[in-house]
């Protein structure tokens, strides 16, 4: 039995082979869903947009040519554009509600502890959602998809150095926002006083 490499599967898919596209779907469906879920904060919208991403990808895959942009980056760009349109079009921007998500739980967590952790995560995600779009995208690609700066750069169409710098600035602004947070989810002395300007 010969296992097809991603290049071979991609070549078949770009030639219009539906089963090959199915293999790409199997590989990327959950990743794209994760990305959209954290960008929209809603499982329902994540399902809707994930469907649209793959239908659009299937419609246009015959036009895909690997010109230095890997297939992953191509797919994430479709997802990014659809999420950006969704944010523009809708005034139904929601706060992240983790209750409607299907989070991977450790299973052995104490329910109260899990709830406290979930509230802390909600508070942090609320802060993250106030960041500019590109910074949210960067954080999701880094922490959910575990991508390198170079890979993120390919998706966001920036250099590796630019991503590194953007990441550093994002961490700094998050640190400030967390220090300012009065919700009580983060201890006030977590960071002490911020350094003088």
């Amino acid at each position: 039995m010969t296992e097809l490499s991603e290049e071979q599967v991609l070549a078949k898919a770009t030639a219009g082979d539906k089963q090959a596209f199915g293999m790409l779907y199997d590989k990327y469906a959950t990743r794209i869903y994760n990305y959209i879920y954290y960008r929209t904060g809603s499982a329902q919208d994540a399902e809707d947009l994930t469907s649209r991403v793959f239908f659009r990808a299937m419609r246009h895959i015959t036009n895909y040519r690997d010109r230095g942009v890997p297939f992953t980056a191509w797919l994430y760009r479709i997802a990014h554009n659809l999420v950006a349109n969704w944010h523009r079009d809708s005034s139904r921007r929601q706060e992240v509600e983790l209750e409607d998500g299907y989070r991977a739980s450790k299973g052995d967590e104490h329910p109260e502890l899990a709830l406290m952790e979930s509230e802390d995560q909600n508070a942090l995600l609320s802060i993250i959602r106030k960041l500019p779009e590109e910074r949210q995208q960067l954080l999701i690609l880094k922490f959910v998809e575990h991508m390198s700066n170079a890979e993120i750069g390919q998706i966001m169409d920036r250099t590796e150095g630019a991503i590194k710098s953007l990441y550093h600035r994002t961490l700094l602004s998050l640190r400030e926002e967390i220090a300012k947070d009065k919700s009580g989810h983060f201890s006030l002395d977590m960071f002490g006083d911020l350094p003088e300007d």
Partner: protein, 106 residues
């Protein structure tokens, strides 16, 4: 642009590491509903093709399909042969019966 004084740099690095730990905790992988994932797959490409999923080469596929066709043809010919043989035997039996009856009457 904020200036970070050298005596604050270490502390700031520690704090940024804490932010990274919080982010790692916050961004846990989520799972889509399996029914959604399966339904979307069906809508996109139809049901799973077990041969394609097994990653068979074109030659292997040709051999499997060719073998299946040959098998079916052999089976059909065998059935027809048996059926033909049975019909032939019946005819022979009837012919033999008629011949016997003729010779008895003669």
């Amino acid at each position: 642009m904020k200036i970070v004084w050298p005596w604050n740099r270490k502390r700031m690095e520690r704090e940024l590491q804490s932010v990274e730990s919080l982010l790692t905790e916050a961004f846990k992988p989520v799972h889509a509903r399996p029914s959604f994932v399966n339904d979307l797959r069906k809508r996109l490409v139809g049901s799973r093709n077990p041969l394609a999923r097994a990653g068979l080469s074109t030659l292997e596929l040709i051999l499997i399909i060719g073998g299946a066709i040959v098998g079916v043809v052999v089976l059909v010919l065998t059935i027809l042969g048996r059926f033909g043989g049975l019909v032939g035997k019946l005819k022979f039996w009837e012919w033999g019966k008629k011949k016997k009856a003729k010779s008895d009457s003669g």
